[in-house]
Symmetry: C2
Subunit: 334 residues, 2 copies
């Protein structure tokens, strides 16, 4: 009732549009915009490669195995399962909105999505193939060669083109129109009073200092455990592995909070399953703040407004192997 | 040119429609008809469960892992990869058109798709969950309870309802309008002269005696190796495991030939990757016939006309776990 009155009053005195514009300017989290697709054939090719298990040595693991588009672009496991059931070293970050990150991987060792895409294919703990083998597999399949010819002007498949197509597909995996974004754009009714209270706590205690921009994160590297050290058995050292600077030890890329209700468990070690716990830990370790239960519940309620429209994906039909296609080796050479 | 003339003549004397009707009656392979969906909400729920990795203990393996709808409803591996990278005992049959089979599994131990669906969930070498755990997981998720309430009139999730919904989704996974079916329905131009020659060989040497019906197979159990024994290291004994009758030893359900170009490698042990080899082996072992290269190529060309329209699947967005959802245990208890 109060809200309705305010809108009526604002509209009456012509302030409404101005107030909405202000929110877009003043708030540090920015809306996610829908993907603009300029080359649909490249996106389609990238989508096939995204779901392509033959990019792995076993013929079983695809990009989508660990960044499942049915489950928030993540695998909802503490660390991922790789070739031969290898236990991955770190939590798989969501692919959703990943194009909005300053860099890729928790330590930012890949400058962009294309560079990232080459990593898991050749990582023995992940897809366990090699760039040479991956290219041989794709090159052996005439339908793929035709598609590469159309999209890249040459039927010679290269790892650069494979990873480029995957990256271009990934750029389409954005989640616009979350309730929070609708609120940012002026729809006061898009979030509840509790959610707004949670957002205000999120801002006032300082979460937004790192979780900002369109991805509510992904803009910087920060130390995990600023006020108190973070206890973990995970050996990952963070950004120091890239820069070699001791100051970067235990610095990780700030993860996005977009769709965070879908991307449990949390942190680089995937040690926390409950969003309430993750909020509590972050407030204490990063900000030295002890939130009470109501504050935590409010922040969690706010975080759930960051769930956007999930990409609508039609499962690709992959072209069959030929007699010349290198065969998968799930259980060693056969 | 000759073909055009024949059609013109046939049409001219009014025999055309009659000839087409005859083909539907006289040929032993029958067309696949499109799915008729009477309960779209149940199909949608079944699709979610089909892609649901939380039905496995690891949270990583779904029905689609081994019956991948991007790759002919199969995994294109000799035998499947299960929990903890277990090597499966037998080749995963395609889910496509499986509702048209007389029974499910290679030995027919499941009478229907619903009965089949319960198997892999609780098989320690496959999804390694249990029916109790699977029900607990789904029951812990409010969106699932709501969907079950809508579809089954009760929000109490049971394993019977889970497997029923999966089976109803699977019934939609048919592949109509293959070029061969268009030919069966009267389109002479739908297949080439080589493909027709291959079909004639397929009939004349007796393949069609077992590979008949709409699924070009799936209608009976037959001995693998009638004229000569089949050499394999795979220990599967076939239908005797179900009936206990020694006469059923090494009898297996005749696999469908629908979409066979997509469902390599072949036979219950997945030992043959090339369709040419599979045709050669079948002709020799089952029929005592030595086909020459041209005959084999023709039969293979015919078999590729059995690839139908693949189901168009929009990837489901799965509802998130709650704090009460049993957690996946990919690497043992945690």
């Amino acid at each position: 009732m109060k809200k309705l009155l305010c809108i009526a009053v604002a509209a009456g005195i012509g302030l409404s549009a101005h107030a909405f514009a202000d929110r877009l300017q003043t708030e540090l989290i920015k809306p996610i915009e829908p993907a603009v697709i300029t080359d649909p054939e490249k996106v389609e090719l990238g989508k096939k490669l995204w779901f392509e298990p033959r990019l792995s040595m076993s013929g079983f693991i695809s990009c989508n195995s660990c960044h499942n588009l049915s489950t928030g672009g993540s695998d909802n496991l503490p660390t991922s399962i790789g070739h031969n059931w290898a236990e991955g070293p770190i939590n798989s970050p969501t692919v959703l909105n990943s194009s909005l990150n300053v860099a890729q991987f928790w330590d930012g060792r890949a400058a962009n999505l294309q560079e990232q895409a080459g990593g898991p294919i050749a990582n023995p703990l992940e897809m366990a193939s090699s760039h040479v083998l991956a290219v041989d597999v794709i090159n052996s399949i005439p339908q793929y060669r035709e598609e590469f010819a159309k999209v890249y002007g040459t039927s010679e498949v290269t790892i650069e083109n494979i990873t480029d197509a995957i990256a271009v597909f990934e750029e389409t995996l954005v989640t616009p129109n979350s309730r929070f974004d609708l609120w940012l754009k002026g729809d006061d009714d898009a979030i509840t009073e509790q959610e707004l209270a949670g957002y205000n706590t999120f801002k006032s205690i300082g979460c937004v200092a790192c979780h900002n921009g369109p991805n509510a994160g992904g803009t910087s590297f920060q130390r995990m455990g600023v006020v108190e050290p973070y206890q973990t058995t995970n050996p990952a050292e963070g950004r120091v592995a890239v820069t070699g600077k001791d100051a970067d030890r235990f610095n990780f890329k700030v993860p996005t909070l977009r769709n965070v209700e879908l991307t449990y468990p949390y942190f680089h070690d995937g040690a926390y399953w409950k969003l309430e716990d993750a909020v509590d830990v972050m407030a204490r370790l990063q900000l030295g703040r002890e939130l009470n239960e109501e504050e935590i519940d409010n922040v969690v309620a706010f975080l759930k407004t960051l769930t956007g429209e999930q990409p609508e994906i039609t499962l690709p039909i992959l072209p069959p192997s030929t007699n010349d296609t290198p065969r998968p080796q799930p259980f060693g050479a056969n």
